[in-house]
C-alpha cells in the first residue's frame, strides 16, 4: 500500500493560514483546538528583515512514539502510514502528548501538567484520502507550499516544481 506523506516548502509559504482554517472547518473543531498550526518567525536584520512561516501538525511518524506510549492501545497506524486515535478508547492520560517529540496531540485544554479531555490530532483527513481526495489543508494551499499525497506523487511534484523554478530562472 502506498505511504502517504506531505512536504512543506517554507520558501513558498505566505502565512495565509488557509490550511489552519480548512482543517478546523473540515474536522468541525471547537474553539481553542487546532490540529494544524502556522508559526510566524521574524528573521534577518535591518535593512533586510524577513518573516518566515511554517505550518506543522502531526508528522505521522513511521514508528510513532505516541502509539507506543498509549496505555489503552487507542492510537493505531494504518497500512498506508496514517496514525489515528480511537477517541472512544482514549482515557485522556496524556502519555502521547509527552511522548510525541513534536507536541502534536491536542486536548481540550493542554496546559503543562494538566491536559483535559480525550486526545485529538491531525488525521491526514483519512476520510478524504479514502475517497481519493487530498487532505483539506493541502487542497487549499494556494502557493503549493504544502503538498500531500503518496510518497511517489510528492517526490514527483517536488521534482516538477524544482524543474519549473530552474526553467524560470534560466
Amino acid at each position: 500500500m502506498a505511504k502517504y506523506v506531505f512536504a512543506f516548502n517554507p520558501e513558498l509559504c505566505i502565512g495565509c493560514r488557509a490550511c489552519e482554517i480548512a482543517c478546523k472547518q473540515h474536522n468541525d473543531l471547537p474553539v481553542g483546538i487546532k490540529l494544524r498550526n502556522v508559526y510566524t518567525f521574524e528573521s534577518g536584520k535591518f535593512p533586510k528583515p524577513e518573516l518566515r512561516f511554517v505550518t506543522i501538525s502531526c508528522f505521522h511518524c513511521s514508528d510513532p512514539p505516541c502509539m507506543k506510549a498509549c496505555p489503552m492501545d487507542a492510537i493505531f497506524q494504518r497500512e498506508d502510514g496514517i496514525v489515528l486515535v480511537d477517541e472512544s478508547k482514549c482515557i485522556g492520560c496524556g502519555y502521547c502528548l509527552y511522548a510525541c517529540p513534536f507536541g502534536a496531540p491536542t486536548f481540550k485544554s493542554s496546559d503543562a501538567l494538566g491536559s483535559k479531555g480525550t486526545m485529538r490530532k491531525y488525521t491526514f483527513c483519512y476520510d478524504r484520502i479514502d475517497k481519493g481526495l487530498k487532505p483539506a489543508c493541502a487542497t487549499v494551499c494556494i502557493t503549493g507550499a504544502l503538498i500531500a499525497g503518496s510518497a511517489e506523487e510528492v517526490s514527483r511534484i517536488k521534482k516538477e516544481m524544482a524543474a519549473s523554478k530552474l526553467a524560470n530562472t534560466l
Partner: protein, 661 residues
C-alpha cells in the same frame, strides 16, 4: 400562585381550634361546618371565585368525588384532617398537627409533574399458542391491527399468524421489538404437500393453515429436510424481529413486566390494554440530567446504582440511563439512590418536611408513609382511637423518601422519624441502599433508636400501629434545641448530604467512620507507581480528583465510588476503598493524596512532566526508529514541554534554528 384552604369542622366533631389555625396560616382560609352538603359546597365555590384563587386545598375527604367535580377549575387537593387529626388527638395536639400537615401540603401542591398526550399507535402482537389466542385476536381486530406470534401453526381466516418461538421483548409502549426464532418451515416455499408430516418419526409436524414443527418436541433428525420437495425446511434460520406497539401474552409468562406488555389472565388486563391503545396520557415524572451521569467513559463502566432499583422496568441503563415514561409511576427510587442527581422527581420536597415541622409539639415525630399504608391511619381515625400526635407526610411511594429526607427531618427539628410502608414499597426499598445508610448514619451519632420502620402488610392491625407508635414516641427524649446553623438544603443530593454532615457533626459530635459495600462513598489511595498522568482526573465524572503542579488532590466529599479512576488508570496505582466518613464528608475540601518530583521544561522553565513519566517517555523515544527525523535530536527535544517542542521543530523547518528569535 394564590392558594386557599377550605376547612370543615365536620359538624363540629373535630377537636381542632380553627380560629388558631386561621390565624397561623398565611393564605385564604374558609371554614365550614358541613362542606360536603351541596348547598354549603356551592356557597364555598362562590366565595372562592370572588377571591381569585388558583389552587385550593380541601381539608375534607368525606365526599371527595363530588367535591373534586365541583371544584375542578381550582385543581383541588385533598387532606384528611378528620381521621388523621381531629378524631384521634387532644385539642392542642390536633391543632398543631393539622397546622403542620396543611402547611406541608401547601408547599408540595406547587410541584406537579408535566402531563402529555402521546399517540402510541395500535399495532398489537399477540404471543401465544393456545386456540384462545386466535379468539382474542379476532376480538381485538375490530379496534387494532393484530398479529399473532405462535410456536405452533394455528387456524385463522382473518389474522396474520407468524409461526416462531419468542426469544425476548425489548423497548417500551408504542415501540417494542420482539425477537423470535422462526419455525423451520419456510411458508413462502412450502407447497403444503404434507410429506414432512408423514415422515416425521416423532409426529412433531402439525398443520393449521400452514405446516409447522413443534420445536419443543423435535430432535432435529433431519428426515423432513431430506424429503421436502421444495427445500422449504431449514433448521438454520436466523432470528427475526417484529415491531409492535403493544405485546400481549396469552398462556406464556413474559420475562419483563412493564406498561405495554400485558398478560391476559383477567378482565383487568384486557381493559388495561384497550385503555392504552391509540392516544394515551403519560406523565413525565422525571427530569433526567443525563450529562451528570457517571455510568461510564471510554468503554469503562462506572456507576450502575440505578440499574436494579426501578421496580417498574422504567429505567434501561445501556450507555446512559433511558427512562420509559409509560412505565414510570414516579416512585422516585432512582432519585433516591442516584448520587449525582441525574433524576429529578417532584415527589417529595425538603421544604415540605420543613413546613411540617414548624409546629409546637414535643417530641416532634415525622411519619413518612406511603399512600397504601396511610389507609391504616384512616382506619384508626374511624375508630376514634387515641395515639401520640405524630406528623404524617404521605407520599405516593415510600421509595421517594431518601436518606437526605430523613436526615433533613432531624436537621429541621424532628426528634424521631417513622417510616411506614406497604409490602410493595418495602420490597422496593430493600433493593436500595438508602435505608441501611440512614440507619448506620444515625447509629454512629448514637441516634439509632430515633428511627422506626413499620411494615404495614396485611397482617398489621390498627392496634399494632397504636402500640408501636406510642411505644416509640414515649421513649423519645426531645433533642435539645440545637446551637449552630441549620443546613442549607437547596442543592443537589450530594451537596445536601455534605451540608447535613456538617450540621450533624456540629450538633451531635464526631462520628466514627463505617464501611458499606453498597454506599456511594469512597476514599482513594495512590501508590508510588503513579506517574501523575491525567487519566484519573479526566475519567472522574464528579471532579473529585484534580491535578496541581506536582500533586494529586482528592475530594472525598465528591467521590461517588464509581471506580472509573481505578479501572482506567494506566499504572494501576489507584485503589478505591468504600468507606463512609461523615466528618470528612462535611469538609468538602481537596486534600493531597500524592506528590512527586517534576521536571521543568528546558525552554520555558515551567514544570511539565513527572520524573517517572519522563523516564518512560525517554525510553520510548530513544528506541523509536525514526530515520525521517535525522535532522533533529529527538531525545533532546523531549526535554522541552509540548509547546516549546512544536516551536523548536517549526524553527528548524524554517531553517532558522541557528538564529536568535
Amino acid at each position: 400562585m394564590k392558594h386557599a384552604v377550605l376547612l370543615c369542622s365536620c359538624g363540629g366533631t373535630l377537636n381542632i381550634d380553627f380560629k388558631n389555625l386561621k390565624k397561623r396560616l398565611d393564605c385564604e382560609v374558609f371554614t365550614f361546618d358541613y362542606l360536603c352538603w351541596d348547598a354549603v359546597a356551592n356557597h364555598a365555590r362562590t366565595l372562592i371565585e370572588r377571591e381569585n384563587v388558583d389552587k385550593i386545598l380541601i381539608c375534607c375527604t368525606a365526599k371527595k368525588k363530588k367535591l373534586k367535580v365541583l371544584f375542578k377549575d381550582f385543581e383541588p387537593e385533598f387532606l384528611n384532617i378528620r381521621e388523621l387529626c381531629g378524631w384521634v388527638h387532644d385539642r392542642r395536639s390536633a391543632t398543631e398537627k393539622t397546622l403542620g400537615i396543611i402547611k406541608s401540603k401547601l408547599v408540595s401542591m406547587d410541584f406537579k409533574p408535566e402531563k402529555y398526550i402521546k399517540n402510541v399507535g395500535s399495532n398489537v402482537l399477540i404471543v401465544g399458542d393456545v386456540p384462545a389466542a386466535v379468539e382474542i385476536a379476532d376480538l381485538l381486530k375490530k379496534i387494532a391491527n393484530v398479529r399473532l406470534l405462535s410456536s405452533l401453526p394455528l387456524h385463522s381466516e382473518n389474522i396474520e399468524i407468524i409461526c416462531g418461538n419468542i426469544i425476548r421483548v425489548k423497548g417500551e409502549l408504542g415501540n417494542f421489538v420482539v425477537e423470535y426464532n422462526p419455525n423451520p418451515v419456510i411458508y413462502d416455499r412450502c407447497i403444503l404437500c404434507g410429506a414432512c408430516a408423514k415422515i416425521c418419526p416423532l409426529s412433531t409436524v402439525s398443520y393449521g393453515g400452514q405446516f409447522g414443527i413443534d420445536m419443543n418436541a423435535c430432535n432435529r433428525c433431519g428426515e423432513c429436510v431430506k424429503i421436502c420437495p421444495t427445500n422449504a425446511i431449514s433448521f438454520e434460520r436466523e432470528t427475526e424481529k417484529i415491531k409492535a406497539t403493544h405485546v400481549v401474552f396469552i398462556g406464556i409468562k413474559p420475562e419483563i413486566r412493564k406498561r405495554g406488555i400485558y398478560v391476559l389472565d383477567s378482565i383487568g388486563a384486557l381493559s388495561e390494554l384497550i385503555n392504552d391503545l391509540g392516544e394515551v396520557e403519560l406523565i413525565r415524572w422525571l427530569k433526567v440530567h443525563t450529562e451528570k451521569c457517571a455510568s461510564g467513559k471510554s468503554r469503562f463502566r462506572g456507576c450502575d446504582i440505578c440499574k436494579d432499583v426501578c421496580s417498574h422496568g422504567a429505567i434501561m441503563l445501556e450507555d446512559r440511563p433511558v427512562v420509559d415514561y409509560a412505565s414510570c409511576v414516579g416512585c422516585a427510587a432512582c432519585q433516591s439512590v442516584c448520587p449525582t442527581y441525574v433524576f429529578e422527581a417532584p415527589s417529595l420536597q425538603i421544604s415540605a418536611i420543613e413546613a411540617l415541622l414548624d409546629v409546637d409539639l414535643t417530641p416532634k415525630v415525622v411519619l413518612f408513609a406511603c399512600r397504601h399504608s396511610a389507609e391504616l391511619m384512616e382506619k384508626v381515625g374511624m375508630n376514634h382511637m387515641k395515639y401520640f400526635p405524630v406528623l404524617p407526610l404521605i407520599v405516593d411511594h415510600l421509595t421517594a423518601v431518601s436518606d437526605v429526607h430523613v436526615l433533613a427531618a432531624f436537621d429541621r427539628g424532628a426528634d424521631g422519624v417513622i417510616l411506614m410502608g406497604c409490602k410493595e414499597c418495602l420490597n422496593s426499598l430493600s433493593k436500595m441502599y438508602v435505608l441501611d445508610f440512614v440507619k448506620e448514619w444515625l447509629d454512629v451519632f448514637g441516634m439509632g433508636d430515633r428511627l422506626l420502620l413499620i411494615s404495614a402488610d396485611e397482617n398489621y392491625a390498627i392496634s399494632d400501629f397504636i402500640k408501636d407508635v406510642n411505644l416509640f414516641c414515649s421513649g423519645l427524649k426531645p433533642i435539645k434545641e440545637s446551637m449552630g446553623e441549620k443546613a442549607d438544603l437547596s442543592g443537589s443530593k450530594r451537596d445536601n448530604l455534605i451540608q447535613l454532615a456538617g450540621s450533624f457533626t456540629r450538633k451531635f459530635g464526631n462520628p466514627a467512620p463505617f464501611y458499606g459495600e453498597k454506599y456511594p462513598f469512597a476514599s482513594i489511595r495512590v501508590s508510588e507507581s503513579c506517574t501523575l498522568c491525567n487519566a484519573c482526573s479526566v475519567m472522574c465524572p464528579v471532579n473529585a480528583i484534580k491535578k496541581e503542579e506536582n500533586r494529586l488532590l482528592f475530594n472525598y466529599s465528591r467521590c461517588i465510588a464509581c471506580n472509573l479512576c481505578q479501572q482506567a488508570y494506566p499504572e494501576k496505582s489507584i485503589s478505591v476503598m468504600r468507606i463512609v466518613d461523615i466528618l470528612r464528608l462535611a469538609k468538602d475540601e481537596y486534600e493531597k493524596v500524592f506528590e512527586t518530583e517534576v521536571i521543568y521544561c528546558k525552554g520555558c522553565g515551567r514544570p511539565f512532566i513527572s520524573r517517572a513519566m519522563g523516564k518512560k517517555v525517554w525510553d520510548i523515544v530513544s528506541t523509536a526508529n525514526l530515520e525521517e527525523f535525522s535532522f533533529v535530536d529527538l531525545i533532546e527535544l523531549v526535554k522541552y514541554c509540548n509547546r516549546c517542542r512544536s516551536m523548536i521543530i517549526a524553527k528548524k523547518m524554517a531553517g532558522l534554528d541557528n538564529e536568535s528569535v
